[in-house]
Symmetry: C2
Subunit: 421 residues, 2 copies
Amino acid sequence: MSEPRQVTGWVSNVKILGKIAFIEVIDDLSLTPITIVVKKETNSELWELVSKVKLGSALKIEGKEPQQVVSKKGRELHAEEVQILAEPQDLLPIDVTGKTPASFDDYINYRYLALRLPKIRAVFVARSIIFQEVRNFLTSRGFLEVNTPKIVKAGAEGGATLFSVDYFGEKAFLAQSPQLYKQMLMCGVPRVFEVGPFFRAEKFSTTRHLNEGWGLDVEMGFINDVNDVLSLLEELVTHVNKRLVESMGDQLKSLGFNIIEDMKQFPRVTYDEALKILNSNGFDLKWGEDFDPKAEKFLGEYFQQQGTPAYFITEYPWDSKPFYIMRNGPQKSYAFDLDIRGIEIASGGQREHRYSELYRNLVDKGLDPNDFKFYLDAFKYGMPPHGGFGLGLDRLVMVLLGLQNIREAVLFPRDRFRLVP
Amino acid sequence: MSEPRQVTGWVSNVKILGKIAFIEVIDDLSLTPITIVVKKETNSELWELVSKVKLGSALKIEGKEPQQVVSKKGRELHAEEVQILAEPQDLLPIDVTGKTPASFDDYINYRYLALRLPKIRAVFVARSIIFQEVRNFLTSRGFLEVNTPKIVKAGAEGGATLFSVDYFGEKAFLAQSPQLYKQMLMCGVPRVFEVGPFFRAEKFSTTRHLNEGWGLDVEMGFINDVNDVLSLLEELVTHVNKRLVESMGDQLKSLGFNIIEDMKQFPRVTYDEALKILNSNGFDLKWGEDFDPKAEKFLGEYFQQQGTPAYFITEYPWDSKPFYIMRNGPQKSYAFDLDIRGIEIASGGQREHRYSELYRNLVDKGLDPNDFKFYLDAFKYGMPPHGGFGLGLDRLVMVLLGLQNIREAVLFPRDRFRLVP
């Protein structure tokens, strides 16, 4: 027996085999329970206590690790003292043994109970690793982490899809992205990133959209061209996935997650090439049309067959992209998307950094330059060429873990039918 | 001369001494400029170009570092190629040489230009280090990083001080804190933290409040008592300050920041003791009253004289604290504040984890338990004893750097008169 140690956690299973009680407890951030062993012959009082413990109770246990572990789950503690800190007062709405699945909604309504189940807990441990590694990578590349306002006067894409807020009698909006702010900063800091929430008031009904999400925004100045941005994003995603697989790939696989074990180089296909692939495979899309989820899904499968889950689509039609994107000839732009497994994860491009061209772009998109004065001003004082991207972190979690619904990647998701919890 | 290297950045000063041009450039995240040297006799064409370069221009320079650096600022590059990427098209609204100070408002209106000034740039580099170190410390202590919703149905302190949002026809609010969510999570994960924005609709007029800020929220389960929380918070702040001083303490000092070089153990005084100190020094406060900024300032000076800028005030009257705080006898509570330099930085305590007591607390505070059902439910299924705190990250930046106004610690601050930029 080793030194005494303390374990705290929740009872996820109770088995009484003859005169030995085996209590499984989910402790710390573990993805497998630790088995608490109490023998009647050693301590009959303690045995009485634990053999009646209710499923789901919160316990504090003092004990020692045995030299030889019997339980299949790998971790064992021979208890010397057990304290019941809290017991369920009601029938548990989720089976914490994991044998009987609950409804999709109950996993969200009782997220705290669902988090005791290894498969759901694993998602949020993975999520925290993904967030950490995103920031570590960018910090190591000389990007400054910033925070920009979430209550704003003007939206980057106009006001149609924004939640409005009464700001002391003035009409304001919830920020859909830090786009305008991160670009303004390019006139004073060469590289910035932000991890924060974003808000979209659209009436989505998909498994890939939420009305509130967490995003990564990156902007880099002094670029040579848009390829600098593509390369950075490719390295970022590859790094994050690699670290995720190193940290918990085996656990994720044994829990049944369809992870991406190896990320190859991301192909870079132009919009024109992607359109050709689609139209020579039964689609009938016209130049300029956006790719719908069906087309995206097809492209995902097409590239997966070539062994690569991630790919860039570049040179989008300018008409389909926001005003701040730089034009590439009369019809195209330097905008791109990154898709992984047929789902759009990030969207970015080189920006228009020349004041007069940017002003014209605003007018061409039907926006009023007066609404954007605070932003346009930044382009008057030595704004270098720059580019960047916005990346949906909830979606990144979703595709790296092979989840089917973005609601599985978010603790308390917000869609138009869900404001509680 | 060393290997060729590339420098990109903005011209912050131009000096022509005889036939040598010295161009100071703010590059990367540096807090001192690099001096670009061009001699007329070596390259007269390049000398012509740079000697006419406008202050504030964005440049890309290829050159070599000399073996011996002449300029006092320490870094030098002998240019072989200079490309002017963008020139100011208008008079610079901020003197980028730093000689003539601009107005407080202009440093915010033109934040991107202000960020080229070492003293303002340093604040945001320090801020990013503080954010990183907060997260690193908590992750290393087994806390799970989480994200909770910012659009919510119920506020932790009732609805009076919340911004309201129309959520698809339903009345919702912007979250003032993750309080309810982080507590619910204590029924499934033992330790969580979140770094995110918070929103308060109060009509503040102080140098310490904003209507939108970034906060750290921490909650830890299975605590023995509130002292576990106090110790964690003390270690966290001490760690963050230590890492800040190690990373850039000398630079901050030479730029004139009044940093805290050494953090001693934080004294823990009770509310009663603090009241006694105040009232025996000319104040006339009654038991139960909150300490106003004047009293806080006095306490800050009082403890500073004893050599400690940081101190806890514990055992606050229960009446002055929110419903979720655990009572300590009939009148007191297990709530505490952390003040640094006379400013409240964090507020926390042990929470009431027992369902029936919590229910009664809600009623006692005049709140309707029906509005909190989704939260109360979590206390039915094995909620362990827990405690935590909320910490204002903008304020932490402010006090660790010795800033006078919280607006100096935030890129684009939001107060009731400022929604732009």
